[in-house]
Amino acid sequence: MALLQIAEPGQSPQPHQRRLAVGIDLGTTNSLVAALRSGRSEPLPDAQGRVILPSAVRYHADHIDVGQVARDAASSDPLNTVLSVKRFMGRGLADVKQLGEQLPYRFVGGESHMPFIDTVQGPKSPVEVSADILKVLRQRAEETLGGELVGAVITVPAYFDDAQRQATKDAARLAGLNVLRLLNEPTAAAVAYGLDQNAEGLVAIYDLGGGTFDISILRLTGGVFEVLATGGDSALGGDDFDHAIASWMVEQAGLSSDLDPGAQRQLLQAACAAKEALTDADSVTVAYGNWSAELTRAAFDALIEPMIARSLKACRRAVRDSGVELEEVGAVVMVGGSTRVPRVREAVGALFGRTPLTEIDPDQVVAIGAAIQADTLAGNRRDGGELLLLDVIPLSLGLETMGGLMEKVIPRNTTIPVARAQEFTTYKDGQSAMMIHVLQGERELISDCRSLARFELRGIPAMVAGAAKIRVTFQVDADGLLSVSARELGSGVESSIQVKPSYGLTDGEIARMLKDSFEHAGFDKVARQLREHQVDAERLLEAVQGALDADGDRLLDAEERLAIEQQMQDLRDLMSGTDGVAIEQQTKRLSQVTDAFAARRLDSTVKAALAGRNLNEIEE
């Protein structure tokens, strides 16, 4: 018999219509699955009562280990045991090789750009490895909840780009999970604390994990979270605290610094245990071999102070990038196991001038928020008062226009899902094809933005420049995935692309791109103006040259023609330079000296059209 859960008043589900949905935090180090049961969102434990599943997969010839067993085997079977696979998601082979020489895996290139890890079970892509982790969580959830899942909300870092999100979605599909939504991790944490129920406000999410630090500044308006800024340090985390204690032990005990790996692991384990004990205790005894000493919390705080300072610096930068003041931040949410360290809480509280939210287990808060969102998306809330949480596009989407400029079609922080269309036209007479170059970024020049995809619209009927109407539609679904279509409105020729971007963005690049756009705003504006003036000038030069070729001999005397050609040459000379204002002025000058010529051409065309016809014919 099915086991029942307690429902909210008036919300008992129809029999056989409980729609089971879960939230999954697919983390670099650890993963969790959570669900709403009896009105509470809580992580689901495995048969041994453990809620955390280490994100480790070990491949044997005939089976797969996932979790703690796999992690324990990492040093004995490094080639077949994959850790931290999240760092490879949506990356190209070249990027992965750049990540670090010290990775033990044998990478092989696949048919796509994806890196494959060679194991005893053959090459495995990061997507497959992630799917193996997700399968275990899915199975746990189905056993625990007693039925098949309708779907899952899976969390991703706010700075994940399209490729990384797509890879995550692919992994879920491979694991047999229906993705209700990909949700930004900081947004999930804010939802866990019910902050989405507030009308508006600024929220800072301080996420200090084992190996990475992320800070996100979110703005809530009418139930919508916008990511104002993200920042962090991909090489800062609780592991560094362990290393700090271990170094202190080496120093105090007078040990040689080049210990063998076994001794090093022992030392780090002792250090980690000491760190955890100091969360509640004021002092702890650390021992290694015959040596032992007392480590006080004050001494520990001093050891980690430089690392905390680094994280606070990133916080200040993110707040500055958001264009807000520290005092405006209304809530600070702590995420990640390392935020249990009292000194971390204290320092973050002091920076923002308010006590951070810590009541929900910082290792679980992201999954808990995702589960709440999953329950809503699965349609289990029937009171109607529940706002559907919306997410936003982290970086603007657009396309390349003449002169290498980025034309934004969907601006950053637009809520998704969204579809936007914009009309473009041809640049040259008789142009029959158009290259659509899809870009993501905040900068004005395409060379500073990220190229997502290119496709061509062919078969545009021959028309004069500017007569064709090409409607380009950008569509972003609820998971932030993009498709672009182009259609020539006269003939109906159409072409489209589902953006599966060329995998290959380096760590934190989204964040960096965003930052650059703020820092280079002034420079970009000048660069854009210059390109615009250059494009205008080119267009005019082309038009004048065409007119000269057609009617120059007939309508101009030698002196007039020379004057025009002189101005054209001056403009050409200026165009290779960077003085936008001079180009603009010279373009105007050329336009002025050709005014009379243009008027004469018009007259002569009209005369030709009227020649030999009487008034009645013309009026018809």
């Binding site: 099915a2 029942l4 056989h16």
Partner: protein, 107 residues
């Protein structure tokens, strides 16, 4: 006429109410629906209705409307674990037939 809870059920009700932060107790009830005619209702109660009957079991309130009581009289609410799955189970002496999954029944 009475409704009761096992100790395990009462404990879990307390835990759920604490976690939720509010609520008087839980409501047991039946609705006419489902593949075998009737379905159980199990909900939190913030405000009992005037005609509701209230039973206490292991310190927790079980609230039920008089119409549902006719179908549920003598029922004991239990909380059980089956593998990883856990939840409430109605031990209802009035039931003559259940659908396969036990979510709905007839009397």
């Amino acid at each position: 006429m009475a409704i009761s809870m096992t100790e395990a059920a009462a404990k879990h009700v307390r835990r759920s109410l604490d976690g939720r932060g509010k609520g008087e107790g839980i409501r047991l009830g039946v609705r006419t629906t489902g593949c075998s005619g009737l379905a159980y209702v199990l909900e939190f109660v913030d405000q009992p209705d005037s005609e509701d009957l209230v039973f206490e079991s292991h310190g927790e309130k079980v609230i039920i409307d008089p119409k549902s009581l006719a179908y549920l009289d003598g029922t004991e609410l239990d909380f059980v674990k089956e593998g990883l799955n856990e939840g409430f189970k109605f031990n209802n002496p009035n039931v003559r037939g259940e659908c396969g999954c036990g979510e709905s029944f007839n009397v």
